[in-house]
Amino acid sequence: MTTQTKLDRELIAALSERAGEPAWARERRLAAWNRFVELPVPAYERTRLKDSQFEDFTPSPGAAPAGAWSDLPAGLRAEVGDPTGRALVVHHNGAAVYRQGPGLPEGVIVTDMATALRDHADLVQPYFLTRGEQGLDNKVAALSGALHTGGLFVYVPAGVNLEIPIEYIVYLDAAGAGVADYTIIVAEAGSQLTVLETAVSDAGAAGAARFGLLDLYVGEGARVVCGNVQALADGVQSLVVRRVVPGERAHVDWVAAEFGAGLSVNEMDSRLEGRGSEVRALGVFFAGGQQHLDLELRMIQTGRETASDILVRGVVKDRGRAVYGPYTLIEHDAKDSTGFQRGNTLVLDPEARAYSIPQLHVVEDEVQGAGHAATIGKMDPEQLFYLQARGLNAQQARRLIVDGFFYPVTDHIPVDALKHRVMSLVERKMAT
């Protein structure tokens, strides 16, 4: 039986206490809590969030640890597929309940945040909730930082190329539960790393809310692929912020795939300070039913010779709503930088709505190139007719056109497993 637990300082302190966290971690959680209370509800252009979205849930204590893969819920195992040979951390209703992985190179750490705060406190301390003052903070980030019971700590030492992707599953099946996770990923200079997050839920998770924060630290010359697939059930709310400040000549590939949740805001903030750093954001979204999905991609370029690139494709159908909000700012002194945005949305049904709000601000005069292109269009009836004239029924024709529409993005997804996952979710979405 669950009882409504009040969200307040005492609860945050108790969470920290129970997890046996060091005092400094508790203080930073409480500082995050203070910011959460002070900060206004984020004013996304086309997504009106209300206070209730930060209140109407019961903070989840998390599920009990699973001893073996077979102890995990069947729905979760079905979504993840065959675990053999994969590096996996599974969260169930807000707690890390299962972890497996083959032997990792010397010095690499992949663990849940609670364990990291106990066993690697010195390593975690410089990164833990320290990004609030860089203009990258907001209410979602602050709440996730204050309340988190789940999350990951990944550390890759300098020069190490971690070939196996680190996969991180967020699974929900408790009605009305509020879960928060905070993940820190540190890729030291010259290292290489791929992290893939999948958020899924059982239909029983109606009214649940997920808050998430991910802080990515990418050292000089390091390369990181950071992908996330959000395929939560329609009754779930998902508010997640991810942020990176790449070092010199570092390269980051964000991949965002938004398919699920009733309401979702996925915000990815990149602050390109390091000279010659590059961030590319690939995004795919597909809103159907009554869903409202918002993909907010921000590139703030302050360093010289930085490059940002945003490439997004999305589909809306039924009464689904989707917002594509890319923002690129090339600051004064960010000489010889480039910043590009391309976004296309396909509207399949008359009551579906798509909003595209691209912003590109170039303050520096000496840039190498900058531009944006955004379109919202309907399916071309001549394309449908051509395919039907070749024997495909209307549904097959629509499916083929949609697959082709997503192709320019899916083709660029740098991890095959992620690419196939995205393509199968498109397929699943077209079938409903």
């Binding site: 051509y386 024997g391 495909l392 209307a394 056109i401 082709g404």
Partner: protein
């Protein structure tokens, strides 16, 4: 298998309230090649699109039967599955969908019936047909009609025809925009497919392609009606005298 038959009876078709076809009659059987010639605006493409079932064209009256069955009751994809094929005058671009993927999907939609062709078998067949049409192999990996030249688009239509094995094929101005070499390749591609099991309706403005295709019947379409039918010699007479000759003959 019985020879296919396409019967068009007293067909009246309008587009946006304007009548274009005004009582057209034509029968095409397996083993026959019919040429339908007419000047711009006579209703040639309207007939092609109407036969295939384009939603913009409204059939006001008349019948279209394929093997005795009412085509007008069928969606375009059902017509295709019965063996009707339209080689488009303006093939449509579909980005992100490769020729090979598209063709295999179409093949399975038409001939599948639970016995879908294996990927290996399909590619073997595709390779053969592409070689016959002098189409480069890399073509299979390109996106459907995207960035194709005019000639590539037309050859690709004939490739589809070869792969999908229709019973009645309509070629809507397949010759337009082709140089003489491409025209020969396309015509030979069609000639290779000729049999008792295929009836062809070639729609064209010029008689150029007919030199290579050798039609059995020639029909002249003027203002939404077939005004004259005859053998191959009719096309030559038309070429020599021009459409104005017929127009003046009809009005007098």
């Amino acid at each position: 298998m019985a020879r296919p038959t396409l019967e068009i009876r007293d067909l009246r078709v309008s587009i946006e309230g304007k009548e274009i076809l005004k009582g057209l009659n034509l029968t095409v059987r397996g083993g026959e090649v019919h040429a339908l010639m007419g000047p711009n605006g006579s209703g040639k493409s309207t007939l092609a699109y109407t036969l295939m079932g384009h939603p913009r064209y409204v059939v006001e009256d008349g019948e279209i039967l394929m093997d005795g069955e009412d085509l007008l009751e069928m969606e375009p994809d059902e017509r295709a599955r019965r063996g009707l094929f339209l080689a488009f005058q303006y093939p449509v671009e579909i980005p992100g969908v490769t020729v090979a993927n598209f063709l295999r999907t179409a093949y399975n939609a038409i001939h599948g019936n639970g016995q879908e062709i294996s990927v290996l078998e399909f590619h073997k067949k595709l390779k053969e047909e592409m070689a016959a049409l002098e189409i480069d192999e890399e073509f299979a990996g390109r996106y459907l009609n995207e960035g194709f030249s005019g000639g590539e688009k037309k050859r690709h239509e004939i490739l589809q025809m070869a792969m999908l094995k229709p019973r009645i094929a309509i070629m809507d101005e397949t010759d337009s925009g082709l140089d003489i070499d491409a025209l020969k390749i396309v015509a030979e591609g069609v000639n290779r497919q000729r049999s008792d099991q295929l009836g062809v309706l070639v729609i064209t403005h010029y008689q150029r392609i007919l030199r290579y295709l050798q039609p059995d019947y020639v029909h002249i379409l003027l203002d939404g009606q077939i005004v004259r039918s005859g053998g191959r010699e009719l096309a030559e007479e038309l070429e020599a005298k021009g459409y104005d000759w017929l127009k003046s003959e009809i009005t007098t």
